[in-house]
Subunit: 368 residues, 2 copies
């Protein structure tokens, strides 16, 4: 990281102290939280995840500016991944900024060990674990992360690459109630945040690992998103609209499946192993009677339900596997397939079409 | 174009004469037409659009191989765009191939004139007009075009760039009943078709204009699709699944809106101009009472209905404009907006939120 922090004489501590343009942007972000995400932050406690990058520093300044107005309890968390010699200084930089803003700052340093390829994922896991613990210990309501519209566009392409279905293709949620996770800047282009910090004279860090083309995600961010932006200046705006449409559809399907209650029960023993986990089942007829669009969402709902009932993170449900369940169901209904058909999902779940049921369960590897 | 046509001693004229691998691929294509597109080609007449490229030559050989089996009436159409000195030879090449296969071949030469930038679009229009006329005059049931899975992936990205909503984002239809248009190879990767022609010893043309990076579409095809394929070998497979999901969802929404009948009526005079076109209207309450996901599809349905009722091509309906209609409806319902609100769509349609209605109509430019 390179520190570009030349602290200005005055940091804006309220909306009134912000230049109108950026006060307006801050209110736009609050409006997004209120109207699009349906959250009222009044009197709430927020843990802000701050790496020191342009996004999280912007978010920090915005929440600080409305802290009084909304009576927010604000704290900051910064994880020092210890991957660069400069990372300790960076942590101090974030701590100093928090001090200037009068906000408590939680710092933690981790040693991620070696293993080149897995570092990005390890870092992510360590960060989320630290954020979760800190939020719980501090009794704060939400964790706010500073993903922006460029991150969202990148996420949509990553999901396209991974074979996500719809509405998952629309990208990461703005609010994830399961994790108490909030992404207030999700519809703000990075360019605007850079401009804000530049005009306020507030510096930020540049994470050099973001500059590396070692990871698919970075190549998508640094090569493919810019190529698409080059083809159409309105591309980021379209990414925003696609996200909105995906969440409108998600709300629709959630409503549609509200009355749908799969059978949640203790898993049967399998292959001589006793099983402690819970499985989820639906009648074959219930799936086969519906239109394909509905059946696919039904299967996904069962997998979400399976994860929740077993207290594990939601499974990634590629569209192609959901179609495979449906194909197995159709074969069974038309008498083409009589044996047990088993469709594996990444992360340790499986769907078994057997008898008159579809059983969703943790597979042996995951449940042993 | 470069001719690579070194005619083999024997061209396969039936499935039996094809190597098993390619006979199998041909049956897979028929299966797609039958089961995915829901069309029975038995005893039907097909006009095959053949440029001479790898896709259309593959399609030609496949249909020839099943002609007898399905009792197909097959004819070929080739448009010589007259843009290259070699194009006349290319047309002769296609005609010679058709002669070898015993199929009638319709050739037409057009002069597209000048105007660099618009050439691609002009060419497309001339081609489709020629195909339509030829099909009508020959009394054939369908026009078959050889778009393949790579074209589909490219189309999805083009739609992402243009701000398409869902399910439109999934890509071009495999069957378009309005135009009698069929795309039998839509889920076949180009690589497989190239391999087939190579193994059969059948040459094909290379369209040099496809090699140019002058057009967005070509840059998407030549730069962005390959980058995504490089990141994930399964990307084309995912594009296929996304397409299937989109059409499952399309079928769902079509079914959902089946009973929905907007008011189709003679358009009111506007701004002193008498109007000859038909407009489509729905009650504000009907839209406002539904979930956002449904309302957006309702608006799109109205715009499709407007195009059909006026005998014009369907309008492109970017998701952002559909959201704008919804915003206008909400403002009206909450008493925030009292004036007339008008949302313009590309191609000459507009949605007017006025009184207790939403009126979809051709705008003045289009209707005058």
């Amino acid at each position: 990281m390179q520190s570009e922090f030349n602290p200005p004489a005055v940091l804006p501590l309220t909306l009134q102290e912000m230049p109108p343009k950026w006060a307006h942007l801050t209110l736009e972000v609050l409006n997004f939280i209120n109207n699009q995400l349906g959250l009222n932050l009044q009197n709430r406690g927020l843990l802000l995840g701050v790496s020191g990058g342009v996004d999280s520093v912007s978010m920090l300044l915005m929440f600080k500016a409305v802290q009084q107005k909304l009576n927010l309890k604000l704290e900051v968390a910064h994880l020092d991944h210890g991957l660069r010699p400069s990372s300790r200084q960076e942590a101090e930089w974030v701590a100093a900024l928090c001090c200037r803003l009068g906000l408590p700052c939680h710092l933690r340093r981790v040693d991620l060990g070696s293993g080149e390829r897995a570092l990005e994922e390890k870092g992510r896991q360590a960060r989320y674990a630290f954020f979760r613990e800190t939020r719980e210990q501090s009794g704060l309501d939400y964790l706010a992360l500073a993903h922006n519209l460029n991150d969202l566009a990148e996420d949509q392409l990553m999901r396209l690459l991974r074979g996500c279905g719809w509405p998952e293709l629309g990208g990461m949620p703005g609010f994830d109630p399961r994790r108490g996770l909030l992404r207030p800047l999700l519809l703000q282009p990075r360019r605007k945040l850079e401009q804000m910090l530049a005009e306020l004279g507030v510096g930020h860090m540049e994470d050099e690992s973001n500059q590396s083309d070692k990871y698919t995600r970075n190549r998508v961010r640094r090569q493919i998103v810019p190529l698409l932006e080059q083809e159409n200046q309105g591309y980021l705006k379209h990414a925003e609209t696609l996200w909105k449409l995906a969440w409108a559809d998600q709300a629709y399907w959630d409503g549609y499946l509200l009355s749908f209650k799969p059978d949640i029960r203790k898993a049967a023993e399998s292959c001589g192993q006793s099983s402690h986990h819970v499985e989820v089942a639906i009648a074959l007829d219930a799936a086969a009677a519906r239109s394909e669009a509905v059946s696919l969402r039904l299967y996904r709902q069962c997998l979400l339900c399976l994860a929740e009932a077993n207290g594990v993170a939601p499974f990634f449900t590629p569209a192609v596997q959901l179609f495979e369940i449906n194909r197995a169901v159709k074969r069974r209904k038309t008498g083409q397939g009589s044996g047990v058909m088993c469709i594996q999902f990444p992360g340790g779940a499986e769907a078994v079409v057997a008898g008159r049921e579809i059983i969703f369960r943790l597979n042996q590897k995951a449940s042993s």
